[in-house]
């Protein structure tokens, strides 16, 4: 059985809520899920993950949330070979700022550079929109489910 790891970086908690929603969507389809804040994840854990879903908000001048930055730093320093790792990416941001959704791009770029393969499209929620993040998360996760190995 495929285990889906949902890994989030958050500051105000919205990305954690989205991570819970994504895990629930996969859980409803019979997948085993593990939800973890990026501070609790070692870069060396990644290679063993079948599917890793990254969820991150963007802070300040387009920066990573405090809880995601050390993980990203470790990725760039340790540079593990991630070929064979499949990941998906969900970002949260607010389009009143120019650097809207920059953090998930930062994470995605690092993962791709290290050989990981992205599945699905990168979701970019806009807090300034009228769509709640949980709604987008649910719809996005369902689309992602159709791309999952049987």
């Amino acid at each position: 059985m495929t285990v889906v790891h949902v890994l989030y970086g958050t500051e105000s908690g919205n990305a954690e809520m989205v991570a819970d929603d994504i895990a629930a969507a996969f859980g409803d389809q019979g997948y085993e899920t593990v939800t973890a804040e990026l501070t609790d994840v070692e870069v060396s854990d990644l290679a063993a993950m079948q599917i890793a879903v990254f969820v991150s908000s963007t802070y300040g001048e387009g920066g990573l949330p405090e809880t995601a930055a050390p993980f990203h730093d470790a990725l760039l320093t340790e540079r593990p070979d991630l070929s064979g790792v499949r990941f998906a990416a969900f970002g949260l941001g607010d389009s009143i700022y120019e650097t809207f959704n920059n953090a998930i791009e930062t994470i995605r770029t690092a993962l791709l550079e290290l050989g990981a393969e992205q599945i699905g499209t990168t979701a970019k929620h806009d807090a300034a929109s009228t769509t709640p993040a949980t709604e987008l998360a649910d719809a996005w996760a369902r689309e992602l489910l159709t791309l999952m190995p049987a």
């Binding site: 593990v34 973890a36 070692e42 001048e61 405090e66 120019e98 807090a127 709640p132």
Partner: protein, 435 residues
């Protein structure tokens, strides 16, 4: 990294004879809600009652985050989810210390978390004419957010115009919020929930000149650069920092000019010919004195506990009383900071509870006879919420009720403002949920 088994929701609980632990949180603002959220994540079967003196939850998320920053307000969706869980109750319109005593809470709950925020704008503490027009930024933002208790609403003649020239003291995000709210045009408020009547009362015309004075050097300003940039990018606003335009010279004439000046330490606020004169000394060279005349001075220099909060909870010390947010740190901080602090505090609460001898506590059920009849449950709040969204102007996301009577009428689901609803004590069932 946690294994699936470790994240399973039903870990052994420190329940007493099979009964859940009971925690009361006083204050349904972000810190109180984050603390409740972290308590439930750490101990999923813990029962929590979150009290608030207002009929509405979310505290400063509703009344302190600027109404044109709806993205930041979306954090309330997390809290809606929290209150949607069985075992988590919102107990609104109940003032702890007045309607129900803190002692009563301590008798009925294993622990009490004080999350009462900081309700008052910090005073300037300089030589100041008592009748000079000086208002607090927090008070102004509460007014523009339709807080029914906003002090500026309750002036004898209602909120009055701030005039065409305003001085804001302080260079934090609250200062940037005020400058932005006072310099935006009506079009810039599309999709916000700004209190239009209040905004028109305080700014019948856009404020023409805004002076922002900071004591520190520019690099030490507490505001986020993105907030200042947002202000400078409003169409019709021209922003200068120490005389230098932030985004180049304006192509068209500015509606509002914002002048930020650093290293100006206020020494006095005087009334002069019906206006206000702010006198400052230059940091580093106190012989350099400047005078600025304006119609109104707005202080944005931080927050303190309100006198009522201090009287009620200031001296309370007990091993099962915990503090989060403003009462713990003495400063308000942003959501992210307070979430982290609330999560740490929740860990402390759970450690304390797990280390205690089992005591029988009934939680909200034990208080049923002592709560006022006009208590507002989360379900009743959702009726207020729905009514505010339904009555919104087409270009606003909601139009808030501005009085407690209106809020309570909407809570009862009645369109009539005259009948104030009452929840009978029987409406609280034995599961502890307020119906």
């Amino acid at each position: 990294m946690r294994t699936p088994a470790e994240t399973a929701p039903n870990r052994p609980a420190a329940a007493v004879n099979g009964l859940p632990l009971q925690v009361a949180v006083i204050g349904a603002g972000p810190s109180g809600c984050y603390a409740a959220q972290a308590l439930r994540k750490g101990q999923p079967d813990i029962e929590i009652a979150v009290f608030d003196a207002l009929p509405t939850p979310f505290g400063l998320v509703r009344y302190g985050i600027a109404p044109d920053h709806q993205g930041a307000k979306a954090v309330s969706r997390q809290f809606e989810r929290l209150f949607g869980q069985p075992g988590v109750a919102f107990v609104g319109n109940v003032s702890v210390g007045t309607d129900v005593s803190l002692e009563a809470l301590l008798e009925n709950f294993h622990a009490v978390v004080l999350a009462t925020g900081l309700g008052t704008d910090r005073r300037l503490g300089v030589d100041q004419d008592p009748d000079a027009r000086v208002i607090g930024a927090g008070d102004l933002i509460r007014l523009l957010n339709s807080d029914p208790d906003a002090r500026l609403r309750h002036r004898h003649a209602g909120p009055e115009s701030l005039g065409s020239e305003v001085v804001i003291l302080g260079t934090g995000n609250v200062s940037a919020d005020v400058a932005r709210l006072l310099s935006k045009s009506d079009l810039d408020f599309i999709a916000s929930d700004v209190d239009d009547d209040a905004l028109r009362a305080v700014a019948p015309n856009p404020v023409r000149t805004i002076h922002i004075l900071g004591r520190c050097e520019p690099h030490a300003a507490k505001w986020d650069a993105s907030m200042v940039k947002e202000l400078a990018e409003i169409v019709g606003v021209h922003l200068n920092v120490d005389g230098v335009p932030l985004l180049g010279e304006p192509t068209a004439s500015a509606r509002t000019t914002v002048n930020v000046r650093f290293q100006h330490v206020p020494v006095s606020v005087r009334r002069l010919d019906g206006r206000v004169r702010v006198t400052t000394r230059r940091a580093g060279d106190s012989a350099l004195v400047d005078h600025l005349d304006a119609d109104t001075v707005i202080t944005a220099i931080g927050f303190d506990p309100s006198p009522a909060q201090s009287a009620q909870f200031g001296g309370v010390e007990a091993s099962n009383v915990f503090r989060v947010g403003g009462p713990a740190t003495g400063r308000l901080g942003n959501l992210a900071e307070n979430r982290k602090l609330a999560a740490d505090a929740a860990k402390g609460v759970l450690e304390f509870l797990r280390g205690q001898e089992p005591l029988h506590r009934t939680g909200l059920v034990g208080l049923r006879d002592r709560l006022p009849a006009s208590v507002v449950s989360f379900e009743a709040w959702q009726r207020i919420d729905g009514a505010e969204v339904r009555r919104a102007r087409p270009d606003r996301c909601r139009t808030k009720f501005t009085t407690r009577d209106e809020l309570l009428a909407a809570a009862a689901g009645s369109g009539a403002l005259v009948s104030i609803p009452t929840a009978t004590p029987e409406a609280i069932d034995t599961t502890g949920e307020v119906k």
